[in-house]
């Protein structure tokens, strides 16, 4: 199976700083592979094992994608090669613009059986890009996929877990699938994988036509701290528990 895995590089949200103005500071915040894309990479690796191929595709800014460290990090997780679309002139802050860029890049990459995406990115978490990529390409597109297996030439059997139902679907290929975080536990790259990553090819693709953004951001601020009383009781003996019970009673519980 020929698999393309989409993989986003994002600022590590755990290291963002909130400024007194409630704006976010990205100064010195390191980049990382978006958490849920690790599940897509793992799925791609499993599907490509046994004679298939796997290529990773990432789209973003020079700051995010330009370093060999992040490129090797992606390549140590199973892909045979990495394709990059680097364009600092596009914000890639909305699902459609990102999806158009990915769909254009996928077309430029030639034949494929599956495009895999994670369930949503760690930064914006829209959970929509995969579905939009598939729809733009005119192929089946599914979200929250929890199982994928080949079911003969040009067909995959796909398990998709909904809120109260698990469906198994026959999906003609090519297709675009967004995998759930439940589909697997991403493996940690072994030293051998890390060594090999440096020798794998990294190619840059031209940015496809991806239209104007559909959105304008008016503001982005840290939420106001909710007023909490922050009363503190120290200890776990009878006194502490009594204080807790008194508090609950006072609050009417």
């Amino acid at each position: 199976m020929k698999v393309i895995v989409c993989c986003k590089v994002v600022p590590n949200e755990e290291e963002l700083q909130v400024l007194p103005s409630r704006e976010l500071s990205f100064d010195g915040v390191p980049w990382k592979i978006s958490q849920y894309d690790l599940n897509a990479l793992e799925s791609g690796k499993q599907l490509a094992a046994g004679g298939g191929s796997m290529v990773a595709l990432s789209i973003g800014s020079e700051a995010a994608l330009g370093s060999s460290k992040i490129q090797k990090d992606i390549l140590s997780r199973g892909p045979d090669a990495l394709k990059l679309v680097i364009d600092d002139s596009k914000p890639f802050q909305d699902t459609l613009q990102t999806a158009k860029a990915i769909a254009g890049a996928v077309k430029a990459m030639g034949e494929y059986d599956l495009v895999l995406c994670g369930m949503g990115s760690s930064d914006l978490y829209f959970q929509e890009v995969g579905v939009q990529v598939g729809t733009l390409l005119g192929v089946p597109a599914l979200n929250n996929v929890t199982g994928i297996k080949s079911a003969g030439e040009g067909v995959a059997e796909v398990e998709r877990t909904l809120e109260d139902e698990v469906e198994v679907l026959e999906v003609p290929l090519p297709a675009v699938l967004s995998v759930s975080s439940e589909i697997n536990v991403p493996s940690v790259p072994a030293m051998r994988d890390i060594m090999k990553a440096g020798k794998k090819p990294v190619d840059k693709l031209d940015c496809p036509d991806c239209g104007e953004p559909s959105l304008k951001t008016l503001e982005q601020l840290a939420p106001e701290q909710q007023e909490r009383r922050q009363e503190l009781v120290e200890g776990d003996g009878e006194e502490a528990v009594d204080a807790l019970v008194r508090f609950l009673k006072k609050e009417g519980f």
């Binding site: 755990e14 978490y125 198994v168 807790l244």
Partner: protein, 307 residues
């Protein structure tokens, strides 16, 4: 874009009243499209929409197969916002609709407000570190909204009910469909919640939390690692920016450190009580009452006193 019309699309009849109420507060015209039977539509006619179109998916078809048909209906208006319920199918439908309407999708929108000519959509980004206010710059926009964001109106007018005639497109062959019984609870509607974090050492110890929930009349929810990594509770039980966002009267938070992504899911609770051994845990900054102590001592004693 002025977007005076909002289309509300849902595959769950009970969600319509809430969603239409939010839409009504932001736009002059509201059309609801419900995936369900004529009887479902009749039951939901008081949802607050001006028009209610219903469609029982054809044999072998699912709601997301109607994206092109809904887009055709939406395009009868020169400009509109489409608001879809935030289920997994809803998000799939929303993504497709976005492509057919040549626009982006904003998911899990937490507030929708009209500011002059513009409809401003608010949602959390960066795992709850910030809230972004955005407007669509194209004629159409698509958003998804989860349960509990809007409140249903009591005195909504009756909608004009009619069938929706659109045809499905691109249906996939379904080999099996199994209903999933994982004992998930409706945390969004819960008045009291016991929130379990990684301070719980073993899966068996969940029983302790369940006992506390029983004496409090509460439901049990958890932080992300408890559901995603340990798989001790169903995924529908985890609260946070990427999980369920709750607003109970009381939440008792046990062994949760209080990362921002989790706080984003629980900070609309009226009263937050936290028990954690680590005095420096960020949860205490977000609690009304914090007990710095061993939950394995505090919880059994609390159960005894409350029983």
């Amino acid at each position: 874009m002025s977007m005076q019309t909002i289309f509300v699309v849902s595959d769950e009849a009970p969600a319509l009243a809430e969603l239409c109420s939010g839409a009504r507060a932001a736009a002059a015209q509201v059309t609801a499209i419900l995936f369900g039977s004529e009887a479902d539509a009749a039951g939901a006619a008081g949802c607050g929409a001006d028009r209610l179109l219903y469609r029982q998916p054809a044999d072998g078809a699912v709601p997301e197969d109607y994206a092109a048909a809904i887009a055709d209906e939406v395009k009868k208006e020169p400009s509109a916002l489409v608001l879809v319920n935030n289920s997994i199918r809803g998000r799939c439908l929303a993504g497709k609709l976005g492509v057919f309407l040549d626009t982006a999708v904003l998911t899990s929108v937490s507030a929708l407000e009209r500011s002059g000519e513009e409809l401003v959509c608010h949602r959390m980004v960066y795992g709850g570190m910030a809230q972004r206010g955005e407007v669509f710059t194209k004629p159409y926009g698509v958003i998804t909204v989860g349960g509990g964001v809007f409140e249903a109106a009591n005195d909504a007018p009756q909608a004009a009910v009619a069938p929706f005639e659109g045809a499905p497109q691109g249906s996939l062959k379904r080999i099996t469909s199994t209903s999933k019984k994982e004992g998930g609870v409706d945390l969004v509607a819960a008045k009291r919640i016991v929130d379990v974090g990684r301070g719980i050492a073993k899966e068996e110890d969940l029983e302790l939390c369940r006992k506390l929930a029983a004496v409090l009349g509460a439901e049990v929810g958890c932080s992300r690692p408890v559901a995603e990594n340990n798989k001790w509770l169903p995924k529908s039980s985890y609260m946070g920016i990427t999980g369920v966002q709750v607003k109970p009267e009381l939440i008792v938070v046990l062994g949760v450190s209080g990362q921002i992504q989790h706080i984003g899911g629980i900070n609309k609770s009226r009263v937050i009580v936290a028990v954690n051994k680590d005095k420096s845990a960020p949860i205490f900054k977000n609690a009304d009452l914090g007990v710095v102590g061993d939950l394995y001592k505090v919880v059994p004693a609390l159960i005894e006193k409350l029983s």
